[in-house]
Amino acid sequence: VTISRRGLLGGIAAAAGAGGIGGYAAFAAASGSDGTAPASDVVDFHGDHQAGIVTPVQDRLHFAAFDLVDSASRNDLVRLLKEWTAAAERMTAGRDVGEHGAVSGPDDAPPEDTGEALDLPPSRLTLTIGFGPSLFDKRFGLSRLRPPALVDLPRFIGDTLDPARCGGDIAVQACSDDPQVAVHAIRNLARIGFGTTAVRYSQLGFGRTSSTSRDQATPRNLMGFKDGTRNLKLEDAAKLEQHLWVQPGDGPDWMTGGSYLVSRRIRMMIETWDRTSLAEQEAIIGRHKGSGAPLGKADEFDEIDFGIRDDAGEPRFTPEAHIRLAHPSTNGGAELLRRGYNFVDGSDGLGRLDAGLFFLAYQRDPRRQFIPVQRSLARSDVLNEYIRHNGSGIFACPPGIRAGSFWGETLFA
């Protein structure tokens, strides 16, 4: 029997004042928990689409890219995906990993679950998987199933990519309202994967920089601006079919109902940005910093008017304003579902913070969405003076699964 985190929490709350490791098991047993958590705190792992895409964006991220080890076979890969699926089902439900979990196993064995999430609620944990182009090389017999939309991203002007922060056979995005719950999830998947897979790189994120629901306020990125005002939202059902989910006939059948993820680690030169005048910052972005309204407008959600002029008759928008370059009207109607996160990975050795945006965007076809938008931005965006793309990935995220099936099952059917 394993301890549910929900059960633990209930037990602790009921018997406030008692403590110590010894106490935990007793409370859990006493609570008689069935492992369920309040609906609001658990995001269903199963469904037509993977969770963690239109799910209202959680506060924290732990993203990891994995490579299969040289000796891994196709059978090893399938076994890993099954084991990961089982672990993901438990963790997203607020339970610990394995038959015995964190503290109920044999004394002489290392615990199956690493334990740091034991007394934490599920915190809306979602785990979302994606397969990188390299998984479709000759190793696992998947070449003919590589979706044409899963292109190798082209080089964009100004890219300063670090190979150690790029690519990966498999990516897992863990999002949660509690950073420790997200880290726990990636840590335990990595542990299960030893011998078959190894972490290539991982990225922590905080302060979601987008909303995927109209119920969420638009958050701010580390430049201090509201980011993702015009994001695709889960309420826009028709648009999601048009821009987000792979439709029947789009590509290989196994991807129908899935989505393509592009990740970019974008370092921000926040120190030089901070020395830029408010007027220039707003001109570069194309929005007012306080309200998030488009230039010349009052409210964040007011329609953008790129032709608007100031009192002196001068255009408010430069041709290169960020929101103009990124706007669907500039990019053949391309829209993205963004769910990026801020990051600060310590400092850079030059007395500055290694800070920025870990950009995550889901879409139906990167060839028509991310790539043209990024081309336009890389070519002209004035923001490029203050940012560097130093990590990059593209992943095919399969459709959602039902109980009893496993991540990527359609790929191995």
């Binding site: 002007i157 300063t160 005048s277 430069t318 050795g349 500055r352």
Partner: protein, 388 residues
């Protein structure tokens, strides 16, 4: 180089009306294209003879009358030299660049009564050989701040023009060496010609696609677009140790530099643009020079580094009289911090230039910290200038 700044473009572009205005105001220039100003005061007929050598900077007299003064600079040394007249805080009142050995050039400059410094910079290096200059005459009443700001733009325009002239001349020498297949000479001239580019980079950058054509690094170029400019040739010189195949790129560079120079000479900047330009130059240092990504093959980054800071200082010092009236404490901070950056750079000097920039992480961090310390007060200049 950096990606074109749309904002700078918007600020710097001048319409046909502005151009006409600039042309009308074109100051009298030295007969060889060097800078000067048209005089409104009395003219001191006898020129001050300046004898510049590799280790001396002798003026025929160190006292002149207020008004328009001419300095006839003869380079009797073996190195290319420059001559400057500075007001307090190294505010450039006038300068002539790129005086080759054996050449004579005139600096015509209007000076009001007060104490100044002169400097010859053989090898164009460092603070130069300094001397005192006294300008006698009735002390002029202190101008109001608006006048001071107007004078700032005129002063900085003179600076841009003289730098642009030198950029064209030195690039011509660099290009000639490349086309002659003289790898050693081309390597020697590469950082020298870039010095003039880097000093006025925000101005040059404001002319749309000329900046990427002249100064793009390899990763700045869009796939399918040809990589041209200084860094293309730099790679051939340092990685291939050759000029083979570079002739067409040298010709292109020369043509592009000539275009940018012609535009830079008539550009008219307002005080706010000066202030922003000073900040942008330090951003350039902070983001591309400190890291060593600018001159990744030649490692001549410190030449560019110093030139960016010099350009920033020229813009700030042009504004100095106005800043002095509005925020004297800021002026003191700026003086101290500019000096600290130049001091930090001297550690890397080698002859007239710099050692290859291959810093330890501690050295890199130190340079970064002095630049950040300077960039912060420089970023405050614009708001002081804009204050009503």
């Amino acid at each position: 180089m950096s990606v074109t700044r749309a904002v700078a473009v918007l600020l710097c572009l001048i319409g046909p009306v502005g151009l006409a205005g600039c042309a009308d105001d074109e100051p009298a220039s030295g007969d060889d294209g060097t800078s000067g100003t048209s005089g409104t005061g009395g003219t001191d007929s006898a020129a001050v003879a300046v004898s510049a050598s590799d280790d001396e900077c002798k003026l025929s007299r160190s006292e002149v009358k207020a008004g328009t003064n001419t300095f006839a600079v003869t380079n009797q040394g073996s190195k290319v030299t420059e001559f400057y007249v500075y007001a307090e805080g190294d505010r450039v009142m006038g300068e002539v660049e790129n005086i080759g050995p054996g050449l004579k050039r005139d600096l015509i400059v209007e000076l009001t009564a007060g104490r100044y410094q002169t400097a010859c910079k053989p090898g164009m290096a460092g603070n130069g050989i300094r001397g005192d200059l006294t300008v006698t005459g009735e002390a002029t009443a202190q101008v109001d701040t608006d006048t001071a700001l107007k004078q700032a733009t005129e002063s900085y325009q003179r600076y841009v023009r003289s730098q642009a002239t030198a950029l064209e001349e030195r690039t011509a020498e660099f290009v000639a060496a490349v086309k002659a297949g003289d790898v050693a000479k081309a390597k020697e001239l590469f950082p020298v010609s870039r010095t003039y580019w880097e000093r006025i980079e925000p101005v040059a950058e404001s002319f749309g696609d000329l900046d990427p054509k002249i100064d793009a690094r390899e990763n700045d170029v869009e796939p399918g677009t040809e990589w041209t400019g200084f860094h293309r040739i730099e790679k051939a010189l340092w990685i291939g140790n050759t000029t083979a195949g570079m002739s067409p790129y040298a010709d292109r560079l020369m043509a592009d530099v000539k275009t940018v120079v012609a535009k830079a000479k008539v550009v008219r900047l307002n005080p706010l643009q000066l202030a922003n330009g000073a900040k942008e130059l330090l951003d350039e240092v902070a983001t591309t020079k400190i890291t060593g990504e600018e001159d990744r093959y030649s490692h001549t980054d410190l030449w560019d580094f110093r030139a960016n800071v010099e350009g920033s200082q020229a813009a700030v010092q042009a504004l100095r009289p106005a800043l002095q009236q509005r925020d004297p404490a800021l002026v003191t901070t700026l003086d101290t911090r500019f000096a600290a950056v130049f001091t930090a750079l001297e550690k890397y000097r080698s002859g007239d230039g710099f050692k290859p920039y291959l810093p330890t992480s501690a050295e890199r961090r130190h340079l970064s910290s002095v630049v950040d310390a300077l960039a912060e007060p420089v970023s405050k200049v614009a708001a002081v200038v804009a204050r009503k």
